[in-house]
């Protein structure tokens, strides 16, 4: 489980201006708005049409969270089927995923389950995932209701947001929530998350044994 902790605190020698660096991946079907979403967050800009991502691209943003400077390296992926094998290779090492679908596109929503399986297969065990229904500004073209999104997210165990990169709805919130979840997980696994502790609660505790607490050694 706590596999990522080794790199959580890792700092790049070239850039010392942060306390933590989180690698985050945005995935989802093609043209659900991954690149727009990222540009909205990183540059606070919006263009109706970005060139379709080829392979993988990234942006960086440093934020403050709980008195810590956190550098987010956010990787934007190509959504086309053909790029799956290439992009999944990058899943390992990511601490968080934003799994995105387009609320005006049924197919992209149906693919969410698949994407989630991909994450489970290729990522670290403790990677955190957020489900995002993008383009919520286009309510008149909506085909996936918010409830369905929420249900699916509950089913998959992810947190859920509906967002719009165009109208800047929930974009910042999404990323910040993801960062918070990662931080929570991190501190959990650092002090209490170990089965060493949690496990001790489940099973009989050693101290409950009738045995006297002391025992001498072979000396």
């Amino acid at each position: 489980m706590a596999s990522a902790t080794a790199t959580y605190g890792q700092k790049e020698s070239s850039d010392q201006n942060f306390d933590y660096m989180f690698k985050i991946l945005i995935i989802g079907n093609s043209s659900v708005g991954k690149t727009s979403f990222l540009f909205r967050y990183a540059d606070d800009s919006f263009t109706p049409a970005f060139v379709s991502t080829v392979g993988i691209d990234f942006k960086v943003k440093t934020i403050y969270r709980n008195d810590k400077r956190i550098k987010l390296q956010i990787w934007d992926t190509a959504g086309q089927e053909r790029y799956r094998t290439i992009t999944t290779a990058y899943y390992r090492g990511a601490m968080g995923f934003i799994l995105m679908y387009d609320i005006t596109n049924e197919e992209s929503f149906n693919a969410v389950q698949d994407w989630s399986t991909q994450i489970k297969t290729y990522s670290w065990d403790n990677a955190q995932v957020l489900l995002v229904g993008n383009k919520c500004d286009m309510d008149d073209e909506r085909v996936v209701s918010g409830d369905r999104g929420r249900q699916l997210s509950e089913h998959l165990g992810f947190e859920f947001f509906e967002a719009s990169a165009k109208d800047n709805i929930n974009v910042k919130q999404t990323f910040e929530r993801l960062v918070d979840i990662i931080c929570e997980k991190m501190s959990e696994s650092l002090d209490a998350g170990d089965p060493a502790v949690t496990g001790a609660k489940q099973g009989p505790q050693l101290t409950e044994q009738p045995a006297p607490p002391h025992q001498d050694c072979a000396c």
């Binding site: 379709s52 080829v54 099973g203 009989p204």
Partner: protein, 1047 residues
């Protein structure tokens, strides 16, 4: 804390030199100071306090309100104080009666624990105390102000030396009440000196503030070292508890006089004559004879818990005179003040007992007190790993190790081993590669010689290694057609894993059990442990790499690896091997295709089916066309040399096979079609839209991937960077476009997008002039951006089917890279690569054994160890210190399992199931993390009988519950009643063994003295030192008391 700080403030204001304390961060300064020189700091506190007594009235005046936000350190100190308060440990503890003889054994020890935090670091604070029989406060009020704290009195009290069952601190210092602060379950050990000093100063302050006279200890260093530092404060006096731990006993301290020298020097007493020193000594002996059985080494992967070296049973006694049957242990109490300094030199030479007169027959007193069966927990796997770890640190490279081994004839065993390995490796091959021939040639003679000398078992073992690693080699010999058992081998690798295991190897980032990597790890471990250590490992590795090269050059797939691209969840070595397999697979497919092509040329007129029968062609490479490109074959060049040229082409691999061009009418140009796509037709013609045969993206290992993503990341986040990145990654897109163009002559970008990225083709129903609705489509806005990547690529893409394109994945280059990488790995690197696999194997084995025995506590520790290991084994950096701790943990658990599996079966006949279950529950870990089973004494006797009959070696540690309960002394006669006659005889015989010079396994020396220091006005201060000499460790602890009031 507040108090201390206020005091400090006053100090500062009254003393100009200390003004610095008032600077904005006084505590930072403090901490630095404390870390730098703890004792001085303490002293400073003390004297400060004295001064403050005088200044007390003024204290209200200097109310400092600025420091309401306490530092973490302050908070910690006050928390410790709180705990001391809660447990009512404040104030004077002195004046209690000194404990009665044997009270530590007969009394009940209790403990209370609490969590306590220093910043986010979790500690465990525990109060240990002996439950007193009578009221504690008898006459407490009558005490003088000046009495020593109880602990200091206990230090000198000789009534309770060597309590058999007590916390190690009790045994070392003889104290009856103390507090220990140790790191929490998941926290690291306190290893750095400054951290340790910081803790000690915290304690100092807490003790001073609370006036607590109970000693407080801090556990430092790794847990298994059992190192404690502590302090006790009394009125005008303090005792420091300090300790040294070494893994080996330094020579000069191997005998009593050496120890006395330290003792004297530590007292620092200039007075002469020296005051008398009390010495008490205890030896522990172990029955050696049980171990005279060699245990054959079993092949790796199966059980290898059998051997344990030097294990046995030890009995301990305390002085009485009636134990002729006491087998092993002599406990000598030389409470003789005359002993020192007048003790005869000859007596002092050997605390190592062999030459001294302190031998069992001369023991003044024996009393059978209790029975302890101890074990030497050298469980074999433990030492396996231990040795393995040693290699990890070694820096030598393979060749230098090997050259050394050839030069030296001393390492005969390893030489033989390496030679045999070669023979075995190479004999298994149907044909010899170049390098093999060389080896065989140059080494043939010595082989035949050594073969004769080699013991049968040894040779057999070695024969198994290559076969174990490459089981297909044997198959190859018989059928000579192992090329097709890739599928089998892969299936084999997969089928063997159950779900749990699957999860485990992912957690540890090792490799699937039974994969080649995993087996290699076991072999390396075994070879290292049993057959010549480092050199053997180097040899095995060299041969292994040679074998891989051979397989690459001859197109034999590597056996026992799951197919497909490297599994990034496995360890890097495993990925590299998988990568190599990918290369071999592709090369093989290509070669087969060419051979096939050539064949078909030769027999142009023959029927298709006939061709296929000539040569078994793997299914995957049937995708071929008759149409030959001019470039493809240049006769005369061997197949192998093909890949060297720069213009290499991709041979399509697809399961479906390509639809023959011949079948399509008209468009004879079309090449590389896979299948029609969803009944679509091209936009500009009625031709169906075909999915082309495409190149597979290049497989990547994690290091390559990292390299690549680093390159991509370095381009920065600017628009140009983004564009450049896209361009760098466009090779795959371009290749796909070219294939598409080849498969669909006359196509346009829209067609490509419809297949490749359907959502970028917008369809709209539009009414045409006649009013009919027509489906009209166009590219999405983003595809229409002028000069965008896709358009650009489309324009540059030529019409080329996949098989004639440049390869996206250059298998030759990649394979060479992998082989080169492997060849460069030092033995140390190799072991590092394989470490996860070894831990994986160890955990699996433990789990398996545990599942039979079903011990809850072990189950948990395994979980814990697994979890910690999985944390530590994640790249980038392996912390070998911590991994070693895991190794210790695993060893402990192995031991626990062994205890149960060895002992419990002995009961099955005699005792009901219920008892067994009961006993299982009672496998508990003690404070030192070791396991014991508590069993009734009568059962024990029965068991002993059974065991001795079987004369099995023991890996066990038993604590006899009943013995302990009966006030520390079981009459020997009673115990003897439980034992069969012949066992008693056996035990009696063993006693001779002791006299014959069996060294004691553990030696304990206690020394104490009272010295008047400084001046006659000061009180006499005590010093007690404890020394434990053991086979594995040397502990020296001391508790000198010093006066804090100077005259």
């Amino acid at each position: 804390m507040k108090k201390a700080y206020d005091q400090n403030m006053e100090m500062a204001t009254n003393d100009n030199d200390e003004l610095s304390v008032l600077t904005p961060q006084p505590f930072g300064e403090w901490l630095k100071m404390l870390c730098a020189s703890q004792p001085q700091a303490d002293f400073w506190f003390k004297s400060m306090e004295l001064d403050l007594l005088i200044l007390q009235p003024e204290s209200e005046v200097f109310e400092i309100t600025d420091f309401t936000t306490a530092s973490e350190w302050e908070r910690f100190v006050s928390r410790v104080e709180e705990m001391l308060n809660d447990w009512k440990l404040m104030g004077n503890s002195g004046g209690n009666m000194s404990p009665e003889k044997g009270e530590y054994t007969s009394g009940t020890w209790e403990e209370k624990s609490q969590d306590i935090n220093f910043a986010d670091f979790k500690f465990y604070i525990t109060h240990h105390f002996l439950k007193q029989k009578y009221g504690k406060d008898d006459g407490k009020d009558k005490l003088e102000e000046d009495t020593f704290p109880l602990a200091m009195q206990d230090l000198l009290c000789m009534n309770n030396d060597f309590p058999p069952r007590a916390h190690c601190l009790v045994r070392w210092y003889g104290i009856r009440e103390f507090v220990v602060i140790s790191p929490g379950t998941n926290c690291e050990a306190i290893i750095s000196e400054s951290k340790c000093n910081l803790l000690l100063s915290s304690i100092s302050i807490s003790l001073a503030n609370s006036g607590c006279q109970v000693p407080v200890f801090v556990q430092i260093q790794q847990k298994w070292r059992r190192m404690y530092a502590g302090e006790c404060q009394g009125p005008g006096v303090r005792t420091d508890f300090e300790m040294v731990h070494l893994r080996k006993v330094p020579n000069q301290y191997n005998h009593l006089s050496g120890l006395l020298d330290i003792f004297k020097s530590k007292i620092g007493c200039t007075l002469s004559p020296l005051p008398p020193v009390n010495i008490a000594i205890r030896f522990t002996y172990i029955l050696q004879d049980w171990q005279q059985y060699s245990w054959p080494q079993q092949p790796p992967g199966r059980t290898y818990r059998t051997e344990d070296d030097g294990g046995g049973v030890s009995f301990r006694t305390v002085p009485t005179d009636s134990c002729p049957d006491c087998i092993i242990c002599g406990l000598f109490a030389l409470h003789d003040e005359v002993l020192f300094p007048h003790i005869a030199k000859s007596m002092l030479v050997g605390v190592d007992a062999q030459h001294s007169q302190l031998s069992p027959p001369q023991v003044p007193h024996h009393r059978f007190q209790r029975l302890v069966l101890t074990e030497r927990p050298q469980a074999q796997r433990g030492s396996f790993y231990c040795y393995f770890f040693r290699i990890c640190i070694c820096k030598e490279i393979v060749t230098s190790v090997l050259s050394r081994s050839t030069v030296r004839s001393g390492g005969k065993k390893s030489m033989r081993m390496s030679l045999l390995l070669e023979v075995k490796f190479h004999n298994n091959r149907p044909e010899s590669s170049c390098s093999t021939a060389f080896w065989n040639h140059s080494l043939k003679k010595p082989i035949s010689n050594t073969l004769h000398q080699a013991s049968q078992g040894f040779t057999e073992m070695l024969t198994q290694i290559p076969l174990y690693l490459f089981p297909d080699a044997a198959v190859e010999k018989s059928s000579d057609n192992s090329k097709d058992n890739t599928a089998q081998s892969n299936a084999w690798g997969k089928a063997d894993q159950d779900k749990n295991d699957n999860n485990l190897f992912l957690q540890l980032k090792s490799a699937p059990s039974d994969s080649l990597t995993y087996r290699l790890a076991l072999c390396v471990c075994l070879v290292n442990y049993n057959h010549g250590g480092l050199r053997a490992v180097a040899h095995l590795w060299q041969e292994f790499v040679l074998e891989l090269r051979y397989r690459w050059e001859n197109n034999y797939l590597i056996y026992g690896l799951t197919g497909g691209p490297p599994d990034l969840r496995c360890c890097l070595l495993h990925q590299k091997l998988q990568m190599l397999n990918c290369c071999i697979e592709r090369k093989r497919a290509r070669d087969e295709a060419r051979k096939f092509l050539e064949g078909s040329k030769e027999r142009e007129r023959r029927v298709w089916g006939g061709c296929q029968n000539v040569r078994p062609v793997p299914e995957s490479s049937t995708a071929m066309t008759v149409s030959t490109s001019t470039k493809e074959v240049s006769p005369g060049k061997s197949w192998d040399s093909w890949s060297d040229s720069d213009d290499e082409f991709f041979e399509c691999l697809s399961d479906q096979g390509e639809i023959e061009v011949a079948h399509t009418q008209g468009e004879s140009k079309a090449e590389g079609r896979l299948h029609p796509y969803n009944n679509m037709t091209l936009l500009n013609s009625m031709e169906p839209l075909y999915v082309p045969v495409t190149q597979e993206p290049a497989p990547m290992t994690e290091d390559l991937l990292e390299e690549q993503s680093e390159v991509l990341a370095k381009l920065g986040t600017s628009a140009e960077g983004t564009h450049l990145r896209a361009r760098m990654q466009s090779a795959c897109l371009l290749s796909d476009m070219e294939s598409f163009k080849a498969a669909n002559p006359g196509c346009v970008l829209e067609d490509f997008v419809r297949w490749y990225s359907p959502r970028d083709y917008m369809k709209e129903e539009v009414a045409d002039e006649r009013g009919n609705t027509v489906l009209k489509g166009e590219l999405s806005a983003r595809m229409k951006i002028p000069g965008n990547m896709w358009v650009e690529a489309w324009e540059t893409a030529r019409v080329t089917p996949a098989r004639r394109q440049r390869r996206l994945f250059d298998d030759t280059k990649e394979a060479e890279k992998v082989l080169h990488y492997l060849a460069l790995q030092k033995p140390a690197d190799l072991t590092r690569h394989l470490l996860p696999c070894i831990l994986h194997a160890a955990i699996l084995k433990l789990k398996e054994e545990e599942s039979i025995e079903d011990i809850p506590s072990v189950k948990q520790s395994i979980k814990q160890a697994t979890c910690q290991a999985s944390k530590l084994l994640q790249p980038p950096n392996h912390d070998y210190k911590k991994l070693e701790c895991i190794q210790h943990m695993l060893r402990n658990e192995e031991h626990a399992v062994a205890v149960t599996s060895d002992i419990l079966p002995s009961f099955t006949v005699a005792v009901k199931d219920q008892v067994i279950r009961e006993a299982r529950k009672r496998v508990v870990s003690d404070t030192n993390g070791r396991y014991v089973i508590i069993i009734d004494v009568k059962l024990l006797a029965k068991m002993l009988a059974r065991r001795l009959e079987k004369v099995l070696p023991t890996i066990l540690e038993l604590e006899t519950h009943a013995l302990r309960d009966s006030a520390g002394a079981v009459p020997v006669e009673e115990f003897k009643k439980c034992l069969p006659e012949r066992i008693i005889t056996y035990l009696n015989e063993q006693k001779l063994g002791v006299a014959d010079g069996n060294p004691p396994v553990a030696r304990l020396v206690l020394g104490r003295t009272t010295v008047k220091k400084h001046s006659p006005y000061t009180k006499a201060l005590e010093d007690r030192r404890f020394c434990m000499l053991n086979v594995e460790r040397f502990d020296l602890s001391g508790a000198p008391s010093t006066s804090v009031t100077c005259f």
